[in-house]
Amino acid sequence: MSEMAPAAAAAPRGATRFDRFFFDWFPAESLGALRLYFGIGLALYVLTQYPQLFILDAFGPQFHYTVPIWYFHALGIERNVPWLAWPVAFATLAACLCFAFGKWTRPAIVAIIIGIFILKGMRDSFSGDVHHREVPIFALLILFFFSKCGRTFGIDARRKGWPAIAAWESSWPIRAMQVYIAMFYFWALMAKLRVSGLFWFEHGGRIQETLIARALRDGFAADGHVVNLSLAWELSQKPDLVFVFGAGVFLFELFFPLILFVRDWRLRLVMLIGATIFHFANFLLMNVQFYFYPFVFVCFFDMARVHGWLKRRLRLGPAVAATG
């Protein structure tokens, strides 16, 4: 299954490398299928990002933010209105599902972005820690917005009988998403080198420091063990092993962009499983809440083919059961 076989036959004569990279990679139906799976994943991602807003007393005190996020500050939003999280979250989830199933796709994207701005602003303004978990999501939604993702594989497309889009119209947004996701890791490495140099990796490096800080932030229990993140505490006492992990992070972030040129879906799958393990390990060891972020990796596959494969499997299941 080499679902990424470039639609080279469709490339016009004299196409540049730029064109071949962005325009000739995916068939026409891929973009709509990607929208479906990305949208469902995004709904779940939104659910994982803001649960702390829903444990507050909806009609209790309205906390006056200590460091409001820049756009709250610009808009003069100074206090948290706890009940507001509920309608905004419901509207955002509904918009995610509209987006996923291709109903009012562009307005849905705008609604998702506004919802994320509000929920993120609420979460990050209490104490001023601005998280980066929504940064790549925003960039990918912008690409969806300016693409023709709503014109295939959705409710509006079927009801209104829109004609199919061309392969290049499907291909460039997906490839741009891939570039953004792959480079996000690369830029994370560059950021480390820009402000800390190789010192970031020396001995246990920043990883050991973060493991210690995270493990101790809830203190020790009566039995002398750390209350939370005991695995982090154990690992922080093995600096050589932490250094190996740090070296692994260096290599992973440096070479991850190579995935953009890998045509074999199996190799891509291996690389993405590696990235997923990276995010899960960060969550388990340091409580870094990027654990559901790997849902964006659907961008690295032809989801129309995956969708067809899934449908065949689901149809085959009962048939096999009946004959068995």
């Binding site: 701005f117 104490s127 601005v130 953004y180 994370a188 600096p239």
Partner: protein, 198 residues
């Protein structure tokens, strides 16, 4: 959109998102992806050792009318993780990570635009402990003449300091430990330190 239009869009899209990286912009939705990228050069590491019971009780608070009480996360109606940051970090003068790294090792051009368009370094100019006191009073609508207003907040926290040799050997059993008591008042913030254990 034609192919030519798509080409221009892609170039513009990456010019904005990757341009922000070169300029070290870290204002959502743009970012130079610096999460956990900053490691301060130091021969020791000092970290907070939390105490869930104390934190759950909250800040020891004194009102203008002399009443003593506690101010917990439930009183302030904020999530536990955010209260932890207020209690264990801001109260002791530690700002959010994006403030700490914003001006670290900037090249001249980036320093220029930050100082021209954004202003002074937030890690230097901001009084985080006073922000908590101001926020607490504003949350409950206590004005400057209200006898119920909070005039003092106190937090207690242990800190452990590990030397470079301890970190490099992985022997984290005997750090230098210190109990700090921060007293945030209308007129300023004091930190009282007591050495504990080894």
């Amino acid at each position: 959109m034609t192919r030519g239009g798509a080409r221009l869009f892609i170039i513009g899209f990456f010019a904005i998102f990757f341009g922000a990286i070169l300029l070290r912009v870290d204002y959502f939705p743009l970012s130079w992806v610096p999460m956990y990228g900053f490691r301060e050069e130091s021969d020791r590491l000092t970290v907070a050792v939390g105490d869930l019971d104390r934190r759950d009780r909250g800040f020891a608070a004194l009102r203008a009318n002399g009443e003593r009480t506690y101010l917990s996360r439930r009183d302030l109606n904020i999530p536990p993780a955010n209260f932890r940051r207020l209690y264990q970090e801001r109260a002791f003068g530690e700002g959010p990570p994006q403030h700490l790294r914003e001006r670290a090792r900037l090249i001249a051009f980036n320093r220029w635009w930050y100082e021209t368009l954004i202003g002074p370094d937030p890690a230097i100019g901001q009084d985080y402990p006073r922000d908590i006191l101001r926020s607490a009073n504003a949350t409950f609508g206590y004005g400057p003449n209200d006898p119920r207003r909070f005039v003092q907040l106190e937090a207690h926290l242990d800190f452990a300091t590990f030397t470079r040799a301890q970190l490099d050997s992985g022997d984290l059993t005997t750090p230098f430990r210190e109990r700090r008591q921060v007293v945030i008042g209308d007129t300023g913030t004091r930190v009282i330190r007591h050495r504990i254990g080894s």
